[in-house]
């Protein structure tokens, strides 16, 4: 199971940038199709908001790949070290 968790980590690492690439590509296409302020604000907000979340996904994947989730903490001391 731990092996599977680590391998899946690679998927999460790739998923972050892949998601952002798709988002930016769609945003660019939609803005080009209808270049008004409303469209730009709308898609701009999406990109800005989802960018840090995608980075979080990459970090999550990295932790998973490194085996950080092989054992989950059972006491608070393990979280506060």
């Amino acid at each position: 199971m731990n092996q599977l968790k680590r391998i899946a980590g690679i998927i999460w690492i790739v998923l972050g940038p892949a998601g952002i690439f798709y988002l930016i590509k769609t945003a660019a296409a939609e803005i080009a199709k209808k270049p008004v302020l409303d469209t730009k604000i709308q898609w701009g907000v999406f990109v800005v908001v989802f960018m840090p979340i995608a980075m979080g996904m990459v970090i999550f994947g990295y932790y998973a790949f490194k085996g950080e989730y092989d054992h989950l903490p059972e006491r608070s001391e393990e979280l506060l070290d």
Binding site: K5, D38, V49
Partner: protein, 508 residues
């Protein structure tokens, strides 16, 4: 017995305030169309509606910031005063929205003021939930934590229920003539749901002032072991950050989209895609909420016995595999092509009105079409008759359907199923999040993943789903791809990485 009595007081006081905050937050979203006509330029109604929806989204996007600001405060000065502050902020902003003059009166200051107040609402909501859930959990015995915190979980849905109820009640009670009542509501009556909020907030503040601080926080305070920098300890240390990320990607992200699909996108879909009229699309949701709400407590309580993980993930799985089917059923039930028209009963009225300063006229044709199963469809077609021989290329057609009694209850049932999934994913999640983090940084640590999951992933669901239907116009169900993909990814992550263990002690 004495201990349990104390807990019920804690739950009552916390839930009432949280319910009011949700009510305040939802009335804005529920009145999006009316607010668009009041506060945004009327030249382009779609742009006006999008602007309001964007404002709605802005309300959700600032929620994670509220989680950081108030979460930090809650871990530094205590739970009680922090979620008292969020209540004041929310109540004040809501009341103020009800007082803002329209765009016609003060120009662009109106939408700007509304936007700022909406952002304050989002900020306040970001601080409220984590405080209430933490406060109740820190008063609860370990073996009934899921049960007691599930009462807090009902408040979001009940807040929506109350907001829909108040809106419908106000809309129909301003004049004896229903049409005049609706016109008055759209003109000034929409302010009432915002203004009455102040009375509810004052009562709730009074109750919360009488409450004591969380015993676990008091213990930390007495021992001098409170966190000095909750943000750094929550997100700057790998050992805790990894749990924050797990909570987000393995639980709240999927829970958020399931929640907003069932309670918001479903209603928007029924009204805007299926063209069911304003009142019916809302009463359908009201009934579904009423029948499903007890299940928050059922699943919260059950999670004390079998663990939180599998209940939440089963809810996500059911949503992923059945959304397409459920929405398709609703679409078919409201599709005139599947019904037999009572041709002899068809009514049609035509009116011609001159267009000022031109020789042209505006023709309005209202057709009322009756179907054998009880559905009535009103089609309003408007086109311009030009004196110089041109004809309207594409007349403006508006459709409004009132479904028959049998189909009405079938739709209630399908929406109930969706909200049932919401109760599965949402009922146990407060206990799950509370158990994931230590007392000294609990408020901060659990608030952020909760509000990114619900505020960003969930809150943007109706918006992104509607946007998808405008990009891929041939498929009316394409909007569901967003919640299905997000919930599926979350389901896989949750299955792989989350543990089903119930933490016996959260006072460490």
């Amino acid at each position: 017995m004495k201990e349990t009595k104390g807990i019920w007081k804690v739950i009552g006081a916390s839930s009432l305030g949280t319910l009011i905050e949700w009510y305040d937050f939802y009335i804005f979203g529920s009145l999006a169309t009316v607010l668009a006509s009041q506060f945004f330029p009327k030249t382009n109604p779609t742009a006006a509606l999008l602007s309001t929806l964007a404002t709605f989204a802005a309300g959700f996007i600032v929620r994670p910031f509220g989680a950081l600001v108030f979460g930090r405060l809650g871990d530094l000065i205590g739970r009680k005063y922090t979620f008292l502050l969020t209540l004041v902020l929310m109540g004040g902003s809501t009341f103020a929205i009800g007082l803002v003059p329209s765009y016609e009166s003060i120009g662009f200051a109106a939408p700007i003021l509304v936007l700022l107040l909406r952002l304050l609402q989002g900020l306040a909501l970001g601080g409220e939930y984590g405080g209430a859930a933490t406060y109740v959990a820190e008063h609860s015995p370990a073996h009934r934590r899921g049960f007691f915190t599930s009462w807090i979980q009902t408040t979001a849905t009940l807040g929506l229920f109350v907001s829909l109820g108040v809106i419908l009640l106000t809309r129909h009670s301003l004049d004896a003539d229903p049409a005049k009542s609706i016109a008055k509501f759209n003109d000034w009556g929409w302010r009432i749901p915002f203004l009455v909020s102040i009375f509810l907030v004052v009562v709730s503040i009074y109750i919360r002032l009488k409450m004591k601080e969380s015993p676990l926080f008091e213990k930390l305070k007495a021992a001098g072991t409170r966190s000095v920098n909750p943000l750094k300890e929550s997100f700057g240390h790998k050992s805790n950050l990894k749990m924050v990320l797990l909570a987000l990607f393995g639980a709240t992200m999927g829970q958020g989209v399931v929640w907003y699909t069932g309670q918001f996108y479903a209603q928007s879909f029924i009204e805007n895609v299926c063209k069911v009229d304003f009142d019916q699309s809302r009463t359908i949701l009201i009934w579904a909420i009423l029948f499903a709400t007890p299940f928050f407590v059922v699943f919260g309580s059950w999670s004390d016995k079998v663990g939180r993980k599998w209940i939440m993930l089963t809810g996500m799985l059911l949503a992923v595999v059945s959304y397409q089917f459920l929405f398709k059923q609703i679409l078919d039930l409201t599709d005139p092509k599947t019904k037999m028209e009572l041709v002899e009963k068809r009514e049609s009225k035509s009116a011609l009105a001159p267009i000022p300063h031109t020789a042209d006229s505006l023709r309005t044709v209202v057709s009322k079409i009756f179907y054998a199963d009880g559905m009535t469809m009103i089609e309003t077609k408007k086109d311009t008759l030009y004196t110089v021989g041109k004809t309207t290329i594409k007349p403006d057609i508006k459709i409004s359907k009132v479904v028959g009694n049998g189909d009405y209850w079938k739709i209630v049932f399908f929406v109930f199923i969706m909200i049932f999934y919401v109760t599965m994913v949402y009922g146990p999640i407060a206990a799950f999040l509370v158990e994931l983090f230590p007392t000294k940084i609990r408020y901060t640590s659990m608030s952020l993943p909760y509000h990114i999951g619900n505020g960003v992933f969930g809150g943007l669901t109706p918006f992104i789903a509607t946007l998808l239907t405008t990009i891929y116009t041939n498929d009316k169900l394409v909007g569901l791809m967003y919640p299905i993909i997000i919930a599926a990814v979350c389901l896989v992550i949750g299955t792989l990485y989350i543990t089903n263990r119930i933490d016996p002690e959260i006072d460490d």
